[in-house]
Each structure stands twice: as structure tokens, then as C-alpha cells.
Amino acid sequence: MDWGKLRFFLGEVFANFTRNAGMQFTAIGTVAVTIVLLGSFLYVRETIQTFGTGVLSQIEIVVFLKDGVSDAKAKDLAALLAADPRVAKATYVPKAAGIKRMQEVLGKDFDTSLLTSNPLPNAYHVRVKNADDVPAVAKKIARDPRVAKADYAADTVQKLLKTAAVLGRAGIALIALLSISAAIVIANTIRLTVFARRREIAIMQLVGATNMYIRLPFIAEGMLAGVLGAAVAIGVLALAQAQVVPKLAQTLAFVSFHVDALTLCLELLAVGAAVGIIAAWLSVGRYLRT
């Protein structure tokens, strides 16, 4: 490809773009809007997921030791627990600490003076890395001879896990729905911009242009519309993040708002460009067939 032709091609793309500025801005606007939506929901989903992971990581297995187990032997168990790769943390909670924690949970009205002795056994509080592993880990621990019982809020864990699973799948479904919608909307928009120039396409064919020759500028334009739309969207999202997230983070200090922005941006740009290109290719093809 000689330099003149490349220049011609780029000039072509630029001229087409500026000479249809109104139409192109409309298209870019649509792309931007859909990508802002997509970006927002990716962000929200990531946040919810992080939050969910945080909640699930709070689940504890309470391991009650048998009454006769000595403190030394009990501490031995720690090594065993730590050896399990699924376990994140195991904290030893002797009777005394246990009753304190219980009082915290129940409020100050749990009158400890009424107790003749501590009704609680020594215990380990075990946190696992992945909430899904809770039942298996609990079962395994329960088999240890020193352990009286390995317990967890089975009902709550079940509910949480189910909810997390459903939310996770719903999130993926919604993102998929949104992605497909965005793709359709962008593709339709680009198809309409091509439709508005179907006469030009027919003329180009009659003058002897090959299909590829006709297609290329349209594809470049589709890509440009996609990329510019995505860029605008990223700008809007960045602005929104800078404005909104700090306020949210302040209010909901217990939710994590960290999202890998660069990857997200690149993804959105890639989506814009890819959809633009594919839509332009297909749309022009439709008018080339006649």
C-alpha cells in the first residue's frame, strides 16, 4: 500500500465522518450511552461481588473441644487446622474468652453472675477461604478425636451460599443481557447509518468499486464510532466514579469499591470497536448483495 493510498483512505474516512457529522454524532451518542450502562453495571456487579465475598468470609466454624482436652493438646490442633489449604484462619478461644464473646452477642443483660461455672467448652473459631468449603471442612474437623463438635450456622450458611450463587448467576445473566443488548443497539445504530447511505453504496458498486473497497471505509467508520463512543463513555464513567464513589464509600464503609478500572476501560473500548466493526461489515454486506 503506497502512502498516497493510505492517506486517501484515511482522508476518506475522515471526510465521510465529518460530512455526516450529525448522523455520526447520533451514532456515537448511542454507543456512548449503551457503554456507560454496560460499564455501570459491570462496576456495580463487581462491587456486589466483592461485598458478597466479604460477607461470606465472615462465616465461622465453631469447633468445640472435648472437655478433657488439655490446653497443650488443644493448641496442637492449630497446626492440623492450618495445614488444610482451605482454611484461612483458626483462632483459639478458651472458655473464658468464649463467655465474653457470648455476652457481647447477647447484650449486657446476660447476667453472668447467675452462672456457677462457665457452661462453654474451649473452642476454635475457624474461617475458611471459600464459603463453599464450610460444610466439608466442618465435617473433616469433627472426625478429630479431640473435637466434640464442629458447628456452624448451617441454616444461614446455606441461605447465604444459595443467595450468593443465585446472585452470581443472575449477575452474569444480567451482564450478558446487557452486553447483548448493547451489541444489538450499537449494531442497529450502525446499520441505520449505513442504511442512510445505501444509495452511495449502490453508486460505488456501479462505478466499479470492489466490495472490499466499499466496505473498508465503512468498517473504519464503524470502528471509529465504536471507539469514540466507548471513549466518551469511559470519560463519563470516570467522572461518575470520581464524584460518586467517594461519597458511597464514606456512607458504606463496610463495602469495598475497588474495581480494576484499566481492564474495564480496555474491555469497553474493545467491545465498542469490535461491535462497530462487525456491525458495519454486516450492514454494508446487506446492501452489497443487491
Binding site: 498516497g4 471526510a15 453508486i203 460505488m204 458498486q205 456501479l206 466499479g208
Partner: protein
């Protein structure tokens, strides 16, 4: 150059535009196609650059069977044919210069050559001063001349002109016809569909008259009305 054998063209809506036409046009000749409005002149030309397919018969241009030509090869066919469309078919988002240049660019002409050939073509039709205008900024005749420049610029082997002077004044018409004659002398086969009696009668070239999609007569060195020079009677 052109061979039609038993060619019929029936449009999807049922209109029979051409009916069993046989026609042969030699390389380097200059032919007028005349006939009433709606008699099939444009349709015949459209078959040659494959805008339309014959419903029947064979169309051969420069040794190529146009009607059965593979789709991928059509652009190449069209690049060897310059066409002045009856409705101009200018690209509305390109300037005069760009419209003319486009016909060269699609053939892969080097930019250097484009820069040389386009101004010459525009000069020939007297539009150098309008090269930066868009079609919407041109008068009817200027648009027509742009279309002519585009058809000529690539030195095609075959030049098809569909009513090329319908929007031109007599002096412009004469200039354009002289231009076509010069192009013809350099070897290009020229086919002109026209209603301009004065032009046909003055040039005294081969005249093919269509009537209801059939060839009514075909005269070497003919007049617009068979046997009647322009100075004679006008109908009506």
C-alpha cells in the same frame, strides 16, 4: 465489442423492457441509440455493465459473457466501461474532484496519476473552477458534466452515455459531442442513448432505433428520424 443475442429483459414488476434484441457493435465504433421515452434504451445499457440481468439471451462485452459473469468479477468489468448515467449518480458526499477521482481510485491508479488525470478530465468538460463543490452546489448541467468527466477519466474501452446532453445548452452539447468524438477516435467504443435530434442528425453515425423493446431499424450513417435530416420536418 458488444454482442447481444436474443436478449429479453422483463423487470420483476412484469414490464418487458427488451424483447428478443440482437445487436452487434464493433470495437471503435460510435453508435446512437434512439427511441421513444420508456422504450428500453437505458435498460439495454444497463445490461452491458450488469446493473440488470437479461431474462433471456446472451450479453457479451469485450469477449466476456456479462450475464453469467461471476459476481466477484463484475467490478473489473465495470472499470473498463465508463458510464454516464441518465440520473448522473454522483456521490453526494464527495466533491466534483473526488467524484471523478473515485473512478480512478477504484482501479488502483497511483495517486500521482490521479492528480494528473482528474484535472485534465475536469478541464475537458469545463468544470475546473467547480472542482471543490459538492453535487448539491452544482447546476443541472454541471452535474451532468461531472458525470461525463467521471466516465471519461479512466480512458475506458467502452463508453456508455445515457442522455448525456439532456441538461446542456447547445454550445455545451456541441463541445461534449466533439469530446466524445475525439475519445472515439482514440479507440474507445462509444454508445450514446439520446433524444437530441440535432446532435444525431449532425454527426451522421450509426443509429439504432428501439421501439417497444425491439430494434426497429439500424442505419449506418443514419438520421434521428429515418431518412429525414434535422432541417426537415419536426413532428407535431
Amino acid at each position: 465489442m458488444i454482442k447481444l443475442r436474443g436478449v429479453s429483459l422483463v423487470y420483476p414488476n412484469g414490464t418487458r423492457a427488451l424483447d428478443d434484441v440482437d445487436l452487434e457493435i464493433e470495437k471503435g465504433s460510435f453508435v446512437f441509440l434512439v427511441g421513444h421515452s420508456g422504450t428500453g434504451k437505458s435498460s439495454l445499457l444497463k445490461l452491458l455493465y450488469r446493473e440488470e440481468f437479461p431474462s433471456d439471451g446472451e450479453v457479451i462485452v469485450d469477449g466476456i459473457r456479462v450475464d453469467t459473469l461471476r459476481r466477484g468479477k463484475v467490478p473489473k468489468l465495470r472499470r473498463n466501461i465508463g458510464v454516464v448515467f441518465q440520473d448522473f449518480k454522483l456521490l453526494s458526499h464527495k466533491t466534483v474532484w473526488e467524484n471523478v477521482a473515485f473512478a480512478l481510485q477504484v482501479t488502483g491508479t497511483r495517486t500521482r496519476d490521479v492528480m494528473r488525470m482528474v484535472p485534465r478530465a475536469l478541464d475537458l468538460v469545463g468544470l475546473s473552477h467547480k472542482s471543490r463543490m459538492f453535487p448539491s452546489e452544482l447546476s443541472g448541467g454541471e452535474q451532468q458534466r461531472t458525470a461525463i468527466a467521471r466516465a471519461l477519466v479512466g480512458n475506458p474501452k467502452l463508453l456508455l452515455c445515457d442522455e448525456p446532453t439532456g441538461n446542456l445548452d447547445p454550445s455545451n452539447t456541441t463541445e461534449i459531442m466533439e469530446l466524445l468524438q475525439r475519445v472515439n477516435l482514440k479507440g474507445t467504443t462509444v454508445v450514446v442513448a439520446t433524444h437530441n435530434q440535432a446532435v444525431v442528425d449532425r454527426m451522421r453515425r450509426r443509429v439504432v432505433r428501439l421501439e417497444h423493446g425491439k430494434i426497429l431499424h439500424d442505419d449506418e450513417r443514419g438520421y434521428y428520424f429515418r431518412g429525414l435530416g434535422q432541417t426537415a420536418v419536426l413532428p407535431g
